[in-house]
Amino acid sequence: MSFERTLEKLKILADAAKYDVSCSSSGSKRTNTNKGLGNATGMGICHSYTEDGRCVSLLKILLTNHCIFDCAYCVTRKSNDVKRAAFKVQEVVDLTINFYRRNYIEGLFLSSGIFKSADYTMERLVAVAKKLRLEENFNGYIHLKSIPGASDELMREAGLYADRLSVNIEIPTKSGLKLLAPDKNFEDFIKPMEKVKNEIIQYKSEKKIIKSTPKYAPAGQSTQMIVGASGENDFQILKTAEHYYKNFNLKRVYYSGYVPISYDNRLPNIGSEVPMLRENRLYQSDWLTRFYGFQTNEIVNINHQNLDLDIDPKLSWALRNMHEFPVDVNRADKRMLARIPGIGMKSVAKILMARKYRRLNWDHLKKIGIAFNRAQYFLVCDSNQFEKRDLTADKIKAFILKNSTSKYDTILNPQLNLFE
């Protein structure tokens, strides 16, 4: 391995891959039973964080940034004047193994620009994974990008070696895609996704009968949507996400606030703000549907098409549904406890355990660690102090915003000061 040349390629191909926000390295169980290298456990590990605050858990690179497509939002697009490079299969294997041995990473995330054809590219991605598993005895995490238009046979092989497969739909609507990625076909994204979904279903049913069935993409599939490049509202974005969760059993949908990289007038200008707060609100909404029992329609709907930027989506829902409150912390079921603003799932678990012993009051709840500033307006407990208040939603919102100097706002939403 020529160090200087590899260094240069790594810079180019890591730089080009950084807009892919998928970083998860969890959800796969690959035990190191063969005295080989590495394992993948339920909980992934973030080994570092970039200065923009995003997790570094996988060696995330492109195999090449040569591309036959010309998608306006993509740095790797054909018409963009950037330095091009390509890794050899063995180079990616060596980098992965050496980084992994030093405990820098949990594994490899390998994507690629499309050179020659979809299959030609996919074949090389698969070759890297295959080499890692079969020749290097590597049990760490591997995430491969499904190349739109790749054949069923290659997708089947990919899933045998990778923990996760993903195909980025990037643009949430068909019309947006037509505008920004005219060479791409919506169906080309769907086909590999469909194939992987079916393989996973088949694997699960075979596994029940034959224990030794080889694993197929044990960490499932994910996808990514760019936010703020093509004018969709949050309702469209979250509905699209819901569609993929339901119909393709996706494990994750990622939302990527568009970072302007082009002077193309179909897109936001270079220098315009990255919609980070909006992106954060989308992730919060996503969590509400995946872990808090919310339906997408409760968070966004025809009458409420965009998420509030100044308050989180759970608080927003609560303020629009005041008839559900106050909730009695000492009696409510898990579902309703989880709907109280300022109470997370960990606090819900603690409340359920602690209230077996005695009725909980404000003091107990504060110690357990609920966000009092938000929660106080929405619950009753074994204290009288706040029970007789009869405030309107607007009043409550004003009170909360006035008192929200919480770490949450400043750290997670650095742009919040724009609205102050």
């Binding site: 005295k35 107990h364 997670l412």
Partner: protein, 258 residues
């Protein structure tokens, strides 16, 4: 009744032996102290407690019957925090557990139950961070070496993780704050003590000790780390929250002159 201070050897078994002693003599006014951090209290009678495996096992088994597995694990985790006075929070918790017929280990309205849980959570976070921030460097003897300085004594907690992950390479993780380490020689995992040369700089990679290619891989990693940053999204506050500065000196991606 007079105050009594029980002094133990700093081990978990030693601490549990103290707990046994407290129950055996039905002591009420009692403080447990590690012999290494001993501060003499006025008007207190000191008693040295000998670590007794049989007694400590009895306490531990009893605890596991009266509390959930998670709760007993939390007690062990909290103990490893080495926080001043943590022994007495744990004693209070354990007494509360044994005093009641019903299970009380999830009564988070009880202060020592809640405190134990919170301290255990801090230790658990440090454990997870050590699994993340250990940076192995390949030595001339083909051993992957890492040094750490965790706030809490988490080395016993991370051994399993590294053993199952790095089964095909020799490695050492050394806690330079507590002067002991873990050594895996491809067969077994042992606790070890090491002497380092006077000129050994724990934050640098010198070719005197480390393999020639080691520097190259650190450079590749650091450059990778820098290239993956999106400067339009820079957020140092969030960055530092995730990677607190006290860890930086041993992270190769954070070395300025690489």
């Amino acid at each position: 009744m007079q105050n009594k201070t029980l002094i133990y050897d700093g081990t978990f078994e030693g601490f549990l032996s103290c707990v046994f002693y407290v129950f055996e003599y039905k002591l009420t006014q009692v403080t447990i102290q590690n012999e290494y951090v001993l501060q003499n209290a006025l008007f207190s009678e000191n008693e040295n407690i000998v670590t007794d495996k049989t007694k400590s096992d009895r306490v531990w088994q009893g605890l596991k019957q009266r509390a959930s597995r998670i709760s007993s694990t939390k007690i062990y985790y909290a103990f490893l925090s080495e926080q001043p006075n943590v022994e007495n929070i744990l004693l209070d918790y354990i007494q509360y557990i044994f005093k009641n017929k019903e299970k009380v280990d999830t009564d988070f309205t009880h202060s020592s139950v809640l405190k134990t849980s919170q301290i255990a959570k801090n230790v658990s976070r440090e454990k997870h961070r050590m699994e993340a921030f250990v940076r192995f460097r390949l030595t001339k003897d083909s051993i992957y070496f890492a040094n750490i300085e965790p706030d809490f004594n988490v080395l016993p907690l991370i051994s399993k993780h590294f053993k199952s992950r790095y089964a095909d390479q020799k490695w050492v993780i050394y806690d330079i704050k507590r002067n002991y380490g873990l050594y895996y020689d491809l067969q077994t995992l042992d606790f070890i003590n090491m002497d380092f040369p006077d000129n050994f700089d724990f934050s640098k990679t010198s070719t005197d000790f480390f393999a020639n290619e080691e520097f190259d891989f650190q450079k590749l990693w650091k450059d990778y780390f820098d290239s993956t940053n999106i400067k339009e999204r820079k957020n140092m506050k969030l960055h530092i929250r995730h990677v607190p500065k006290r860890y930086w000196k041993y992270l190769s991606e954070k070395q300025p002159n690489l």
